[in-house]
């Protein structure tokens, strides 16, 4: 009798661990875990991660005076390692005195135009990517922490709606792949859960650093939808939702992805 009970106990343990293995892919995790060990090593090693080239360039830009005000970022913000720690994990946010959320890139450009009296940097330009990567690097390892600003609520909901809306010729929503089918294979590649925890990322396919906006545009083209205009607010809305969805996950920027 006793032996039978032990047997049953073992069976239920096996059943539980089998279920855990099955649902292992659906538990929330970074795209980092879906990569092979070689790529993980590449991201972890600062001297092999090509994103660090941009971080290095961003540091130079941080200290370089520019614009009509002839000010460098460092003139006001001092050492980024101290003052910019924890900034990247909060964005998108609503800057003081405004009503609309902006992402980190948008915030950098706001600072440039308002305080440095300089031209805003073009989206996906090397300079903007470098500064963004430099700021994001200061928050590496910190948990993603969207701000508690109640004004963000409606924007976040709009982002969630966009995420779940089917669109394009293939009639797919972001959620179709990244929620319902994450962890399965698409053309031999594991479908990631789409967490924005490594941006800006060095994507091997791009052979360059790129922003989350670029990644979102890629996906939109992939489902044969018309990508939103470069300056469209939809990207910020989606990013708001994605950052909230990834709340508490550790920032890996600059990440490396295949």
């Amino acid at each position: 009798m006793r032996r039978v009970r032990i047997g049953l106990g073992l069976a239920s343990i096996f059943a539980a661990s089998f279920a855990a293995a099955q649902s292992g892919d659906s538990s929330r995790h970074s795209g980092y875990q879906d990569m092979g060990p070689a790529l993980q090593k590449m991201q972890d090693d600062d001297s092999a991660n090509p994103g660090m080239l941009f971080v290095q360039a961003g540091e130079a830009l941080w200290n370089q005076r520019t614009g009509a005000a002839n000010k460098a970022c460092a003139d006001c913000h001092r050492a980024a390692a101290a003052t910019m720690k924890g900034v990247a994990v909060r964005y998108p946010a609503i800057p003081p005195g405004t009503a609309k959320p902006v992402d980190l890139e948008g915030r950098i450009n706001l600072c440039r135009t308002a305080n440095q009296k300089a031209e805003p940097l073009a989206g996906e330009s090397r300079e903007l990517l470098a500064l963004t990567a430099y700021l994001a690097r200061q928050s590496r390892g910190l948990p993603i922490a969207p701000p508690d600003d109640p004004r963000l609520g409606p924007f976040r909901e709009q982002g969630a709606e966009l995420y779940k809306r089917r669109q394009g010729q293939l009639n797919l929503a972001c959620a179709t792949c990244h929620d319902a089918n994450a962890g399965k294979k698409l053309a031999g590649v594991t479908i990631p859960q789409a967490h924005p925890d490594g941006y800006p990322v060095y994507r091997l396919e791009w052979q360059s650093l790129g922003s989350l906006k670029r990644r979102l545009r890629n996906c939109l083209v992939g489902i044969r939808a018309e990508a939103y205009a470069y300056d469209a607010p939809e990207y910020v809305l989606l990013e708001l939702y994605l950052m909230d969805r990834a709340k508490g996950m550790k920032l890996e920027a600059p990440g490396v992805r295949p």
């Binding site: 092999a48 090509p50 660090m52 080239l53 091997l204």
Partner: protein
């Protein structure tokens, strides 16, 4: 702006095998791709990379268009004497980058 990342241990024991890693920002344009105007984008690659230890060449390689952008090179050397490790990349369009680091061998 030339942008280089080099990783060499600052110190080593005499006779140690040290790993030397060098990463450089470069587009490595193959010369086979058409641009948005339909014309071939001219080739722009790093052709040669070499490393010296106190002036003596310890590593040399020729790069080809098949090497991805931002080439990363890693190799090993035996640490025999303190000094400077120099790196040199040269290639198309007059590209030339030089960088050096020091290592103390005890």
């Amino acid at each position: 702006m030339v942008n280089v990342l080099i990783n060499v241990p600052k110190t080593a024991k005499r006779g140690d095998v040290v790993e030397i890693k060098a990463l450089i920002l470069h587009p490595m344009e193959t010369g086979f791709r058409p641009g948005t105007n339909g014309r071939i984008i001219p080739r722009n690659i790093v052709e040669r990379f070499s490393a010296t230890w106190n002036g003596t060449e310890i590593f040399r390689m020729t790069m080809t268009p098949a090497i991805a952008a931002n080439p990363f090179v890693s190799f090993f050397a035996v640490a025999n004497e303190s000094g400077t490790i120099g790196f040199r990349w040269s290639g198309d369009e007059g590209f030339l980058a030089e960088e050096s680091v020091t290592i103390t061998v005890a």
